[in-house]
């Protein structure tokens, strides 16, 4: 294994060289919200528009064929990246959120019925809560939640109790975007399967940060977004097992998702196009493919190792700050996310003062209000790390946090 060369990696990301104000370079610690993009990803889309732009699938001319093969090649890359057997098991969507809504509105509406139990967790992102709340309201489903322990882990005993009640679906985040906790997805899926439940993993934070194989997990559905894995906005993916996707009714109606249309009826297209209505995110899918190529060129194991080092160091250094409390600090497995509070200082003030030092962190509920309620707070500050962050950036964060504490004391 060659050594991890973060300085070389940083050069791949044009934005990492900017200054947020004269003399104040950017320190980007908000990759959990959205990751920065390497030039190869930006250029792939740029190049597409300059040389290959055409509408896909239906055209027989040069550009249409080029665009189609680039789009479908990206699907194959994304499928390979998550260890899916068949490219057609990967549906392009706008983002992880849409992927989950797609499952709720097609599989859920078709196969869940009044009184059916859906098991979620207290640490879910709103994207993996609200779609099920909407469906539960419509179909009178029962939602139950795996509780989160003090340490920031899912309480497996509670999970077992819900499994005993025969849930139809178990849906949970592979990694929490607040706590950083990496949940034991494989074991949880195996248990769900034994209990007869379908499983959905929200991979929005796992797929970008460590090697994930849907085959190894044996998961039924997995949702993720390109923009969190150095890819563009406007595209995400839903992985689904072929036999499930095949049984599902279509999602949106329109061009491309049909086989035949009459005035009063239609027949749907084959997988994966059955779920991709209208002119899709073509350039974005191509950028997604380039992002996957880029991550592969560094290696997901290398990225995961490096992030692990960073976050361990960050945890140690941040704890030196008086009063700073870390949410879910003690989770056995955690990724590069550190959410914290400082007594008497609102996270928005923390984030804004850090911003004046060039440091981008996030403040708020991070789209996980119920989790914050659970911890008895309405907001937290969150620093998150990705393949391009450095030890010096962590030092800069810590020094700046010390200044914040001083200002308010």
């Amino acid at each position: 294994m060659t050594a991890y060369n973060v300085e070389k990696i940083r050069k791949d990301f044009p934005i990492l060289g900017i200054e947020v104000s004269p003399g104040v370079p950017l320190v980007y610690l908000d990759s959990t919200a959205t990751a920065q993009k390497p030039a190869v990803v930006i250029d792939a889309m740029d190049e597409y528009y300059r040389t290959s732009n055409g509408n896909i699938h239906r055209g027989v001319h040069y550009l249409a064929e080029r665009a189609t093969s680039m789009y479908e090649a990206s699907r194959a890359k994304v499928a390979a990246f998550i260890g899916a057997d068949k490219p057609k098991e990967v549906i392009f969507t706008r983002n992880a959120t849409e992927s989950i809504n797609l499952v709720a509105q097609t599989w859920g509406r078709a196969f869940l019925n009044k009184g059916d139990l859906v098991v979620l967790t207290e640490m879910e992102h709103h994207s993996n809560l609200v779609p099920w709340q909407m469906l539960a309201k419509e179909k009178d489903l029962r939602l139950e939640f795996i509780t989160v322990t003090e340490d920031g882990e899912l309480d497996q005993a509670v999970y077992d109790q819900w499994l005993d009640q025969g849930p139809k679906l178990v849906a949970f985040a592979h990694m929490s975007n607040v706590l950083g906790t990496i949940n034991p997805a494989k074991a949880m899926i195996a248990k769900a399967r034994r209990a007869g439940a379908i499983t959905l993993v929200d991979g929005a934070q796992s797929v970008p940060h460590f090697p994930v194989s849907v085959k190894d997990l044996d998961v039924d559905f997995m949702a993720f977004s390109a923009h969190k894995m150095v890819g563009p906005t406007g595209v995400g993916a839903l992985y689904g097992k072929e036999e499930l996707l095949d049984k599902m009714p279509p999602y949106m109606g329109g061009g491309d998702m049909i086989r035949k249309v009459y005035l009063r009826s239609f027949t749907p297209n084959e997988l994966p196009w059955k779920f991709e209505a209208g002119t899709f995110c073509i350039a974005e899918a191509i950028g997604f493919g380039a992002a996957v190529d880029y991550l592969n060129s560094i290696g997901m194991d290398a990225i995961a190792n490096y992030e692990h080092q960073l976050v361990q160091s960050a945890l140690i250094k941040m704890k030196t700050i008086p009063g700073l409390e870390i949410m879910g600090e003690k989770a056995a497995h955690r990724g590069g996310v550190v959410s914290f509070t400082l007594p008497g200082i609102h996270p928005h003030d923390v984030a804004q003062i850090l911003d004046q030092n060039g440091i981008a962190i996030r403040a708020g509920h991070h789209c996980a209000m119920p989790l914050h309620d659970k911890f008895g707070i309405s907001a937290s500050s969150r620093a998150s790390f990705y393949l391009y962050n450095t030890e010096e950036e962590i030092n800069h964060l810590v020094v700046s946090l010390q200044k914040v504490v001083k200002m308010f004391s």
């Binding site: 609102h346 928005h348 804004q352 509920h365 309405s378 907001a379 200002m407 308010f408």
Partner: protein
């Protein structure tokens, strides 16, 4: 880094002059900014001459929203209630004396929205209230 958090803001946040509540009161309204959990309640007492005689706010939130509430109440003491209807975004920004991005702007303007909703006797504190004289 300190220009934005001018001393006055931190000072009003840490040592507010108008924190508290008034019971009885003539006008009382509360609301929150769900984005960051800022929550503010404003109580006013209005004299027979239609002027604000006493004011107090309570709640929790970031330095900006709390300082904004304190500065705002300080500025309306002795003013005619109808004058409050004319207060806008710009008045608050002048009180704070800093520039803010869209997210923080919401924090800064929450007290004004609440104050105006109370004065107009509305059920809801909407963004329309941040413009001149609107209800």
């Amino acid at each position: 880094m300190d220009d934005l958090y001018r001393e006055v803001i931190i000072e009003h946040y840490k040592n507010p002059g108008y924190r508290g509540s008034l019971d009885p009161n003539d006008i009382s309204f509360e609301d929150e900014n769900p984005l960051c959990g800022d929550h503010i309640k404003i109580d006013l007492r209005v004299g027979g001459d239609g002027k604000v005689s006493e004011a107090a706010f309570d709640g929790h939130g970031c330095a900006i929203s709390q300082a904004s509430a304190d500065l705002l109440l300080e500025s309306i003491i002795g003013k005619d209630v109808n004058e409050i209807k004319h207060l806008t975004k710009t008045d608050v920004m002048d009180l704070l004396g800093i520039e803010l991005g869209p997210v923080r702007l919401k924090c800064a303007l929450l007290p004004l929205k609440i104050l105006k909703a109370g004065v107009y006797g509305l059920g809801e504190a909407t963004d329309d209230l941040l413009e001149e004289g609107q209800a």
